[in-house]
């Protein structure tokens, strides 16, 4: 028996309808004592066929993805076709071990060898695990881990939670909604959904038990998930969502409140592919240009020559506008082969990442700054550079010197560590602007790991403690005549965007898909409405009370179904 209605937290508005597809990540280990029925030859043939199927699937996915992914997946396919592995599997099956357990044990033997070697090879352990799980799934008749390769129709992706790795091949044209059992408003699922403009419900108890293929109607505003809904209900929801999109699109132009208080609305951009959607959504510039895409999946850091063309493409697309570039934000949570952490880190989120990493690898920073300075020349974009993970004024000053030495005059820092927010006035003295990263600021203020699904309730940027730190930062910026933007995904929440403006934030940057909603929300409220909403939220005792209190001061949100 399944309920016909589940409820979670709506984190990306809109309506989506399609069959449920379960994202499977964990394949259970076959029992240690699993034996086959006695026909070793037939069992071996099953094992060989499963491994070949896995290899062919990996190779085909690589061909579809192209580029670096093709090489990576082709190498994985070679592992599935490995002759030594096949020999070991045959040996175990000869001894009576069931095919799935034989495959599991054979891969595990290599896994341990690679893990013990450390360094580059330790990173291949995940590849070996992935192939092992795929082969075991094939043998046990389980759904393969990962996303459906060629879905017959657009589907609703249902998962415990989504990790960045799950989403590499995600095609927004085939996914109509996300539903996750875990996760909060700042979880990766929520961030990804808003960036893609896909309706999403997170923290949805019971989602993991939805049978595959069940038709789902997902309301990303209310957080309601309907199982096998009547077709009238689906038509109503889809029509409502279309009307709402038209209503929002009718508001255009530069970001401003109803009484003309100007709030530039900027786009978060993660690479050249994000330029066109940002321009189409009317972005007035780029508030967060993430540069990690140039550095991922590489053995060596890119040279300045390799980097500058990619930067120039974005600068030229935003001629005459501001483009705020965040230098590489790498570290133990986003490890890169050429930036190894100096020591093992038991707690990566609190480890050597962001600007801390650059203190060890100043040459990587120098190459990036040189590329940015060269790319900026000859374009009319107002290029500004900022550093992630700054805790102290001393770090901000060090970064500022490096940027100015490279010929980049406008230097800012991200405010994502409570220490930086508390001492924002000190940092303002050595920097030109602030940009508040609400995802990390929330994680560090509440001491709640962004990746820990069980802590979803704490990962809420509405928490009054987070709002207090935003208020402190904005006040310090105003006192020093500095700009203070918000570039975390919280800025994509129309109600929270109004609250930030009320707290004194001067610009908002978000995924392109969120710009129409935030533009419409600001245009319907005065700056005094925003200030009252901010005061009401800070006076509340909990995140949910803050949200309710702020929304009571922002009545037009309900008219816009936001």
């Amino acid at each position: 028996m399944h309920a016909d209605r589940l409820a979670g937290v709506g984190v990306s508005p809109g309506a989506g309808y399609g069959p449920a597809h379960r994202l499977v990540r964990d394949i259970p280990e076959p029992p240690r004592a699993a034996r086959h029925g006695g026909d070793a030859r037939a069992e071996l043939r099953r094992a060989e066929q499963a491994l070949e199927r896995v290899a062919a699937d990996l190779a085909a996915r690589g061909d579809r993805a192209g580029g670096e992914a093709r090489d990576v997946l082709a190498a994985q396919a070679m592992m599935a076709r490995d002759p030594d592995l096949a020999a070991r599997v045959a040996e175990l099956i000869e001894q009576g071990v069931a095919a799935s357990r034989a495959v599991f044990d054979a891969f595990t033997g290599y896994r341990e060898l690679l893990a013990a070697a450390g360094g580059y090879l330790a990173a291949r352990v995940a590849d070996v695990d992935d192939i092992r799980d795929r082969a075991v799934a094939a043998l046990e008749g389980l759904a393969l881990p990962g996303l459906p390769a060629d879905p017959a129709e657009p589907y609703v992706l249902v998962a415990r939670d989504l990790a960045p790795a799950d989403t590499v091949l995600l095609d927004p044209a085939t996914v109509v909604a996300f539903v996750t059992e875990e996760g909060g408003p700042t979880s990766h699922t929520a961030i990804l959904a808003r960036a893609l403009g896909v309706p999403a419900v997170v923290g949805c108890a019971g989602a993991s038990a939805i049978p595959p293929g069940t038709p789902l109607l997902v309301d990303g505003s209310s957080g309601v998930v309907r199982l096998s809904p009547h077709e009238d209900e689906v038509a109503r929801a889809v029509r409502g969502a279309e009307q709402n999109t038209a209503l929002l699109a009718a508001v255009s132009g530069a970001g401003a409140t109803a009484d003309g208080h100007v709030v530039p609305l900027l786009a978060n951009v993660g690479g050249p592919a994000d330029i066109a959607p940002a321009l189409a959504a009317g972005a007035e510039g780029v508030g967060l240009f993430r540069t990690e895409f140039l550095f991922l999946d590489r053995v060596d850091p890119p040279t300045w020559r390799e980097q500058q063309d990619a930067y120039r493409e974005v600068f030229e697309a935003f001629s005459g506008s501001r483009v705020i570039v965040r230098v590489l934000d790498a570290g133990a949570d986003k490890p890169l082969d050429f930036l190894p952490p100096p020591a093992p880190e038991p707690n990566p989120a609190l480890g050597e990442r962001g600007v801390r990493m650059f203190r060890h690898f100043p040459e990587v920073l120098a190459a990036q700054l040189e590329a940015l300075a060269r790319a900026a020349k000859g374009t009319s974009a107002r290029v500004q550079v900022m550093a992630p993970m700054v805790a102290t004024a001393e770090e901000a000053a060090w970064f500022g010197e490096a940027c100015r030495a490279a010929g980049l005059p406008s230097v800012g820092v991200m405010i994502e560590i409570p220490a930086a927010a508390l001492r924002a006035a000190d940092i303002a003295a050595v920097t030109d602007f602030f940009s508040i990263g609400t995802n990390d600021l929330t994680q560090y203020t509440l001491a709640a790991d962004r990746e820990a699904g069980a802590l979803a309730g704490l990962q809420d940027p509405w928490h009054p403690a987070v709002l207090d730190l935003v208020a402190l930062t904005a006040a310090a910026a105003m006192g020093s005549g500095r700009d203070c933007g918000v570039c975390g995904e919280a800025a994509a929440d129309p109600a929270l965007a109004c609250v930030f403006v009320g707290l004194g934030v001067t610009s908002l940057s978000m995924a392109a898909a969120a710009l129409p909603r935030v533009r419409a929300a600001l245009a319907r409220h005065t700056v005094d409405d925003c200030r009252r909403a901010a005061a009401a939220a800070r006076a509340a005792g909990t995140a949910s009370a803050a949200r309710t209190a702020a929304r009571a001061e922002l009545p037009a949100l309900a008219d816009l179904s936001l």
Partner: protein, 85 residues
């Protein structure tokens, strides 16, 4: 028994793309090919998992061996791959 002794020059060692190319080439040989590192028993050069687990790094010397007619030409090709910068 024919053999080639070469120093691996690639910055990433005999990992990643160099390892894949090496194993793909060895796999085309109609006879057995082994690869050994000093102090470690030889392993099957046609096995990507075994070659990776050998963990050959930049500057290390390996011995590639085969015992068959026509082995020389194959060993030359493998030696060239392993010693490419």
């Amino acid at each position: 028994m024919a053999e080639r002794k070469v120093t691996v020059m690639s910055e990433v060692g005999l990992h990643a793309r160099p390892a894949a190319t090496f194993v793909q080439t060895a796999a085309q040989a109609p006879f057995d090919v082994t690869i050994a590192k000093f102090g470690v028993p030889p392993v099957n050069a046609k096995s990507i998992l075994s070659v990776l687990a050998l963990d050959v790094r930049q500057g290390e010397t390996i011995v590639i061996s085969a015992d068959a007619d026509g082995a020389d030409e194959f060993l030359d090709r493998l030696a060239a791959i392993a010693s490419a910068p």
